[in-house]
């Protein structure tokens, strides 16, 4: 069953006079419990596909079907609600909130997604999640004092603490060494299986491909498979 379908999505950026079509009709469907990897040369449009799919920017044309509804036709507020409750997003650079501690980043995500569990359960969930990404020892640290890899693991934890249905990850292993990268990929694999996530990730790294279920290649705004 396809949980998420991208249908003929095009994206045009206009820089003043010049209009440039970056996505020229992308079709893609994601399956529940699977990790799909988007690969392709730099500038081919991978991040653009990912951010449009995640509702962080709008497609110029095309449809994005999530649970049978077209997200491109939804109001700003409906898309926001989906982002808050059903999606998780890991950015190419971690984008944590600079003035919140590691634990508070996750608490904020629980607040934003309006998770209805008790405070005690939330604290426990945060602890467990931090244990999962091996960050519980830096619970009280601020992002500025973390290494790139540590930030990325916190970002992953933030992206899934609220139990989203779909996880988008833009090169989550880019700033990590091979061992750490494999750790993160194992984590994604495990989370995707155990939480029945649907994961779409972008990667440059061939070594990560054994961990994914499906690989899709992009070139010049097209999917070439």
């Amino acid at each position: 069953m396809s949980a998420f379908i991208i249908d003929e999505v095009k994206k045009t950026f206009s820089n003043g006079e010049i209009e440039e079509e970056i996505l020229k009709g992308v079709n893609l469907s994601l399956k529940e419990g699977e990790i799909t990897a988007l690969i392709g040369p730099s500038g081919s449009g991978k991040s653009t596909v990912l951010t449009i799919a995640a509702g962080l920017q709008k497609a110029s044309t095309g449809e994005i079907m999530f649970e049978g509804k077209d997200m491109t036709k939804m109001s700003q507020e409906e898309v926001r609600h989906i982002r808050a409750t059903d999606f998780g997003f890991v950015f190419q650079s971690s984008h944590l909130v600079p003035f919140l501690t590691v634990a508070e980043q996750l608490q904020l995500m629980l607040d934003v997604s309006e998770t209805k569990t008790s405070k005690k359960e939330q604290v426990k969930a945060i602890d467990e999640m931090l244990k999962l990404v091996e960050m519980e020892h830096r619970k009280e640290a601020y992002p500025s004092s973390l290494s790139g890899g540590e930030r990325q693991r916190v970002a992953i934890a933030r992206a899934i603490i609220h139990r989203p249905k779909i996880l988008f990850a833009d090169e989550p292993t880019a700033s990590l060494d091979t061992n750490r990268s494999k750790g993160v990929m194992e984590l994604l694999q495990e989370l995707t299986r155990t939480l029945n996530l649907t994961t779409l990730m972008v990667t440059h790294d061939e070594e990560m491909l054994p961990y994914v279920d499906r690989v899709i290649t992009m070139r010049d705004g097209y999917i070439v498979e």
Partner: protein, 343 residues
């Protein structure tokens, strides 16, 4: 609004700068309006202290009180119809003390009334500021237009007219000094004081503005105060705007994870409220302290009414500034905001 508070705690410098701008501007506004009010007291405390009512001048006086001479017959009739009416006159002049030092005064006399000091012939009651000049109860004062002498009976607080201390004297002494029998002004207290066909009538406010220097002085000072309020309003708005432009990347992240726009607004409002309130409390405290240390002779009079009103205006202005800067956060796509923040 824990997140708004956490941000302020973590980025103290940024919010301290904003707070000190608000503090300085509001403090300046309080001081200037304290001075405006002080000068106004200094110029017209005598009139400002009177209750709400109507003032009447002779029609021929052309709205200038020191040209006014109210016909005695008219006055008699008014007193019969309105038992609470008072007639009074004011003229600028001088007295000499025992050491022959001259003091500038505003001589005031009135018919028997609770609103003015009632003084016996040969006696004088002075504004307290003259006590600081060394005059004491029992001192003898002279005036070159007056054949007798004035014995100081006592002092009253805050009685000023035309920037001079007021001296209450008896009607007969006044009439001798200024060679007039008629009184200048009639005052009838009460909201429903009648309009009299024989005389021009003025409300308290209108009468204040009939004092020649009063209008000009108050107008310029009030203009300065309102300019300050407008300029500080623009400063607030600009600073909140700049701060939010700097924070656009953060708002992008918060929007990306699905935070509601209203929550972003609440965050902006909360920070504005806390900063403005703290700054205002400080500048209120300092401006009140200033009224104690203000140099002697500097007319500084800042009432709590004025302070609350100006504070409310600052709050509203700050709120508008914060809201305007919130709107540019509202309409931006999360990704665009994040990318702008990275530049």
């Amino acid at each position: 609004m824990k997140i708004a508070w956490k941000e302020m705690k973590k980025n103290k410098t940024r919010f301290l700068i904003l707070g000190s701008i608000i503090f300085l501007v509001s403090f300046l506004t309080f001081i200037i309006s304290g001075l405006a009010n002080g000068l106004s007291q200094d110029n017209a405390a005598l009139i400002k202290k009177l209750p709400q009512g109507q003032f009447y001048l002779d029609k021929d006086a052309d709205k200038t009180y020191n040209l006014s001479k109210i016909d005695e017959g008219v006055q008699q009739q008014i007193f019969i119809d309105n038992p609470e009416a008072t007639a009074f006159s004011v003229q600028m002049g001088f007295v000499n003390d025992a050491e022959d030092k001259q003091h500038s005064l505003a001589f005031v006399t009135s018919t028997d009334s609770e609103l003015f000091e009632n003084v016996k012939e040969g006696e004088i009651v002075l504004d307290r500021s003259l006590q600081e000049d060394g005059i004491q109860v029992g001192d003898v004062l002279t005036n070159n237009q007056f054949s007798g002498e004035f014995v100081v009976k006592g002092f009253v607080d805050q009685q000023k007219y035309s920037h001079a201390p007021v001296a209450f004297i008896a009607m007969t002494n006044y009439q001798e000094m200024y060679r007039v029998m008629e009184m200048q002004t009639i005052f009838i207290p009460g909201k429903d004081a009648p309009t009299l066909s024989a005389l021009d009538s003025f409300s308290n406010k209108e009468f204040l503005h009939a004092i020649p220097s009063y209008s000009a002085e108050q107008m310029s000072l009030n203009m300065i105060v309102w300019f300050l309020v407008i300029i500080s309003g623009m400063l607030f708005a600009i600073f909140f705007y700049m701060m939010n432009v700097q924070k656009i990347g953060l708002y992008g992240i918060l929007k990306a994870i699905g935070m509601k726009t209203i929550s972003l607004f609440k965050m902006i409002w909360y920070q504005m409220l806390v900063i403005t309130a703290i700054s205002l409390v400080l500048s209120i405290a300092l401006s009140q302290a200033f009224s104690f240390v203000a140099p002697e002779g500097m007319p500084f009079h800042l009432t709590m009414d004025t302070v609350w009103m100006l504070s409310a205006v600052f709050m509203v202005v700050g709120f508008i500034g914060a809201t305007i800067s919130g709107f540019q956060v509202k309409n931006i796509e999360p990704l665009q905001a994040i990318q702008q923040g990275e530049m």
